[in-house]
Amino acid sequence: MTRKMLIIEDDPAVSAYIAKGFAEAGFAIDVAGDGRDGLFLASEGVHDLIVMDRMLPGMDGLAVLKALRAAAILTPVLILSALDSVDDRIAGLRGGSDDYLTKPFSFAELLARAEALLRRVDAAGDAAPTNLIVGDLEIDLLSRTVKRAGRPIRLVAREYTLLEFLARHAGQVVTRTMMLEKIWNYHFDPGTNVVDVHVGRLRRKIEDGFDTPLLHTVRGAGYRLSGDGIVS
């Protein structure tokens, strides 16, 4: 089933840029150029995801969000904003949004986070899994052990955390920013390839001595853990 997305953004260039990207990813797109139109369209409750700017003419993004949540519209909302201070981020998340991305952004980042949000919603109904399986890799969440093709793999704590995060997003692109935020809880850019080195270590541990690569590098975006061998 085609996923429907609503973009609420007053800058036509940014709006078109996002719309094009998501259309290519297989979404059906609705666009609103200001807060009121956005609220009107969103109130129908038919969208799978809303990408919304905060600074909108007429009705401010946070006000739209508040109105939506008050009307019990639970569509996941990803806020896109040039307002990048910690206070702004907290205000956005507390206001009812599900993720917060600052401008300028790379489309790959936006897409990765959108997919992550959608998966979260899809999986929301399922009972908590006790293990994750990607290809022939198996992660036992209860004992925190990892096996590949039956052989146990020894990982240190942070390697395990990284692998679990990638596995929960198996098949999706995970960006470096997402990893820094969710695993190390840092919202700044260290400016070096610290994360890449962590991923490299993990990759060596789970791929050395096995035939199929599992941890794929997605150029210009991040990484993807999957057993299908497809690199985008």
């Binding site: 201070s85 300028p104 809880n185 700044f188």
Partner: protein, 441 residues
């Protein structure tokens, strides 16, 4: 106006109270005296009947008390004994005030009296003229009126003096602020009384605020100047790369050129973000984000992040805590970013060993902690350290490397956000970059 009205009302209240008290007092005393007189007459009657009463009244007349008004009635046409002007007939009555004396008597004057029945036909009247009391009363009333007038005048004058003085002192401060608003940030309020009274206190605080505003304006000027100057180079580079990409006929080469342009854009973005963060940290805008955390956890988490990178570069990274420091209010995000800048520098310019150290120091102003990144590289010569700290300040040895030179400026700003400072010291050999923070509960 308000002061005058208040003072007047207060005085009026006091005077009113005084007047009321005096009047009630006087009346009470009169009633008591009249009652005492009546008691004496009644006693005389009981002792000796009519004769005794007549004798008592005669004695009273003889005493020469001009205010005395007494009489005895037996039911006949007129009283059989009296002193002063009395009515021809009376009825028993409790204490009252009236002008006694009959129609034919034009000397009736206000009298306080009471009438008692002592026998079936026998009545006695006991009273006192209240003329002299009335005169005293009038005199008092006049005095009180003068007091009221005087209090209005004095109160008004006093209030006026206070108002003029306060206005004058406040206007000095207001004038300074007006001059600042008109454009001269360097203006300050004059300290008039040697800094001792409340107005000078206010002036000093306003001056401190103006000092701070002046500093912030200078920072802002510096920041925008820096922006303009130092964004030019990366922007020029970006432009060149995009131009080259546009000219590339060969598709893969064009893509490669665009990727290079994208990298340049990211670099610019990072620079801008850092500049903004420095500005914000200095304006204390983020100070509300302090949470209680153990400083050692900040170092440990950073070590966890950087360890693989350090190892790949052949650098041994470790964490040492010289003391056990309990959780204190810290901005984890900004401190982590600041320390990450220092670690980054150490990895780039340092040697083979990096230690993240937590230390506690006792100073004359209290205890403080030091979050330090110590390396064993070439270090920074003492005369070059202030240059390194300056915004966009990059030492010659680093000029060819990447980065905008803002890293240390941000660390300094974050340290100051917590009320501390950054210090670059000799690690013997190498550089020790220390963030000193006061220990607060």
């Amino acid at each position: 106006m308000l002061t005058t009205a208040l003072v007047f009302l207060c005085n009026l209240g006091v005077l009113g109270l005084l007047y009321g008290q005096l009047r009630d007092d006087a009346l009470a005393r009169l009633r008591d005296q009249v009652a005492a007189q009546a008691n004496d007459l009644e006693a005389a009657w009981r002792d000796d009947g009519r004769a005794g009463l007549t004798r008592a009244i005669a004695d009273m007349r003889a005493s020469g008390d001009a205010a005395l008004v007494v009489a005895a009635y037996d039911g006949a046409r007129a009283p059989f004994a009296q002193v002063g002007t009395v009515p021809v007939r009376v009825e028993p009555a409790r204490f009252a005030i009236a002008a006694l004396g009959g129609r034919m008597d034009d000397q009736a004057r206000d009298t306080g009296y009471e009438v008692r029945r002592v026998d079936r036909d026998m009545l006695i009247l006991s009273g006192r003229l209240i003329d002299d009391r009335q005169q005293m009363q009038h005199a008092l009333e006049r005095a009180l009126l003068w007091s009221a007038l005087l209090s209005i005048l004095l109160g008004g004058a006093g209030a006026l003096v206070i108002v003029v003085y306060v206005s004058r002192r406040l206007r000095v401060i207001a004038a300074a602020v007006d001059r600042v608003s008109a454009g001269d940030i360097r203006q300050r309020a004059a300290i008039v009384s040697g800094g001792t009274d409340a107005f000078d206190g206010l002036a000093q605080r306003v001056n401190m605020m103006l000092d701070r505003i002046e500093r912030l304006l200078d920072e802002l000027r510096l920041m925008t100047d820096g922006f303009a100057h130092d964004l030019r180079s990366p922007l020029a580079r970006l432009r060149a790369k995009v131009e080259r990409a546009a000219e590339e006929a060969d598709a893969p080469a064009a893509v490669a050129a665009m990727d290079a342009a994208l990298l340049e854009t990211d670099l610019l973005m990072r620079m801008l973000t850092t500049l903004l963060q420095i500005g914000r940290a200095e304006a204390l805008a983020d100070q509300g984000d302090l949470e209680r955390i153990a400083p050692s956890s900040i170092l440990e988490e950073l070590a966890d992040l950087y360890e693989p990178l350090a190892q790949d570069a052949g650098v041994a990274l470790s964490v040492k805590a010289d003391a056990d420091v309990p959780p204190m209010p810290l901005n984890r995000e900004m401190l982590s970013q600041a320390l990450s800048n220092l670690i980054d520098n150490a990895l780039r310019y340092g040697g083979t060993k990096i230690v993240l150290r937590l230390g506690v120091h006792e100073t004359s102003d209290g205890r403080r902690i030091a979050l330090a990144v110590e390396d064993n590289g070439p270090g920074i010569a003492p005369d070059q350290r202030s240059q390194a700290l300056r915004r966009f300040g990059k030492l010659d040895s680093a000029r060819s490397g990447p980065g905008a030179g803002l890293g240390l400026a941000l660390v300094e700003a974050v340290a100051r956000l917590h009320g501390g400072h950054l210090s670059l010291e000799d690690n013997g050999p190498g550089l020790a970059a220390l963030i000193f923070l006061p220990m607060r509960q």
